[in-house]
């Protein structure tokens, strides 16, 4: 457990990528072009953002092929709604909102089709691992096992750093519910990780 959490800090140091001013300006330029119907400009945006959108989709759905569908739908919807992007948030954040809506929409549809099973693992039998190295794998697995309400909040708030207000807004829940779900996620994770520790 110590190793797991220690590795976590080291990983985050490597993870940080300095954002260049130029990159942001480029992005705004592509957005403007894409809004005018320039597909090549939209492709440039796609290339810049796809990994971050896929990362979110993958963590929320736990399934590579569903995540790919989610990414495609998100970008297609983004193209259709580009005129609504006002630039008051980062383009990546706006894309994330679109992606969250796609995931939630799919979840709602699949809930209506199947009976919801109690264990998360039964609903998503092929939960994919993200491929973080070292001790973080345990944490990855544990997050994947969380019930969807808690998991969605944990991914948006704890992994991607959105505030409870933003998280609530994206998921269509109150900020207070977001806090409650985070609390729940943390306790479930602590339990899961301690249990693994005991077993190991």
């Amino acid at each position: 457990m110590e190793a797991l959490l220690a590795t976590g800090t080291a990983e985050s140091a490597r993870e940080v990528v300095p954002v260049k001013k130029q990159a942001v300006q480029d992005e705004m330029h592509w957005v403007a072009e894409a809004r005018d119907g320039n597909v090549a400009a939209f492709e440039a945006l796609y290339r810049m953002q796809v990994d971050r959108v896929y990362g979110l989709c993958l963590r929320m759905t736990g399934n590579a092929s569903e995540a790919e569908d989610c990414v495609q739908d998100a970008f297609i919807q983004a193209w259709q709604k580009l005129d609504r992007f006002r630039g008051d948030s980062a383009f990546g954040t706006w894309l994330h909102r679109v992606a969250v809506n796609v995931v939630l929409g799919r979840m709602r549809k699949s809930r209506r089709e199947q009976d919801r099973m109690r264990a998360v693992s039964e609903v998503t039998p092929d939960r994919e691992t993200i491929g973080d190295t070292g001790g973080l794998q345990d944490l990855e697995d544990a997050v994947n096992e969380l019930p969807s309400g808690a998991r969605n909040v944990f991914v948006l708030n704890a992994v991607y750093g959105y505030s409870h207000n933003e998280t609530g807004d994206m998921l269509g829940i109150a900020a207070g519910t977001s806090k409650a779900q985070l609390h729940r996620a943390r306790r479930l994770l602590a339990q899961q990780l301690n249990r693994n520790d005991g077993a190991a």
Partner: protein
């Protein structure tokens, strides 16, 4: 739909779903202008306003005038907008022509005297209520219902729509129920009954002397305060339950699960009900034991903690 009312406030834009229905209709019929209406009637300061609409939006907001104002975007296929006063009662009804009930959507923005009591019903209509101080009875079949409570009783029912109630920490009785929609409420004080079959129930940041929560497979999250001598009853077949008592709780606990796990961070360890059969139970007294907490699940897991 854009525009400004006389009092300078903005009118809302219709939801995506409304657009879909309206667009579908327009497409089928060719370009058609919807009729826009704007009517006002004098009303009792504390009368009852009854509104019904099949599809679209019903947006109700309380104001300080003793008048009811209806602004509507009436879709083709609507026979009339019925709007009448009868003493203390005002009725607003979207009447749809026979054989026209699919694809017809009407968005209503209604202003009512703040002290009014409300009865609103829709089929696929989304309902939103703000600044209404009287009692509310809201129901939609597949629309979502979002409301604010202000110390008066609220009853909300849906089939597949979600239910959301924002309280204002004043004592009242809330009855919230859905079949597959989620039920979410916060800042309530007093009594609540919250049910869903497959939807989830979230009750948070509230203070109860009575709370009853039932689901069949939906998740239950209760993060709230139970007053002394209060009663909490939670029942689910397959949903997982997460209970956190904010502040101290003084009650006799009677917790049982047939196949689920019980995980508690106060009180004794749960025990097997019997050596030979499934079942786990947790029965103990906390504090003065004045209240009662009863939690029953068939397969759902329970986590219970206090803050």
């Amino acid at each position: 739909m854009h525009g400004r009312r006389e009092d300078g406030t903005d009118m809302k834009r219709p939801t995506m779903r409304t657009l879909t229905l309206t667009v579908f209709c327009l497409c089928a019929a060719g370009a058609l202008a919807d009729e826009e209406i704007d009517r006002t009637l004098d009303a009792d300061a504390k009368g009852t306003v009854t509104i019904s609409n099949t599809a679209g939006m019903i947006d109700v907001q309380g104001w300080s005038r003793n008048e009811v104002n209806v602004i509507g975007d009436i879709g083709r296929g609507v026979e009339e907008l019925f709007f009448e006063r009868n003493g203390d009662d005002i009725t607003i009804q979207v009447k749809v022509s026979r054989g026209h009930h699919r694809g017809v959507s009407t968005d209503l923005e209604v202003r009512v005297p703040q002290g009014s009591s409300l009865k609103v019903s829709g089929v696929s209509a989304d309902i939103e209520v703000k600044d209404v101080l009287g009692t509310q009875q809201l129901s939609s079949v597949s629309g979502d219902v979002v409301s604010e409570a202000a110390g008066a009783d609220v009853e909300i029912e849906t089939v597949s729509g979600d239910v959301e109630l924002q309280g204002d920490d004043q004592e009242m009785v809330a009855e919230l129920s859905s079949v597959s929609g989620d039920v979410e409420a916060q800042n309530l004080v007093g009594e609540v009954t919250a049910n869903s079959v497959s939807g989830d129930v979230y009750l948070i940041e509230s203070t109860f002397n009575r709370a009853r929560i039932h689901t069949t497979s939906g998740e239950i999250v209760f993060h709230a305060r139970l007053l002394d001598s209060g009663r909490l009853s939670v029942e689910t077949i397959n949903g997982d339950v997460d209970v956190v008592f904010e502040d101290d709780v003084s009650a006799r606990f009677d917790i049982e699960s047939f196949n689920g796990r019980i995980d508690n961070c106060f009180g004794p360890e749960p025990v097997r009900t019997s050596q030979y059969a499934p079942g786990t139970e947790l029965k103990f007294t906390e504090g003065s034991g004045s209240g009662r907490v009863s939690i029953k699940t068939l397969n759902g897991d329970l986590q219970m903690c206090n803050d």
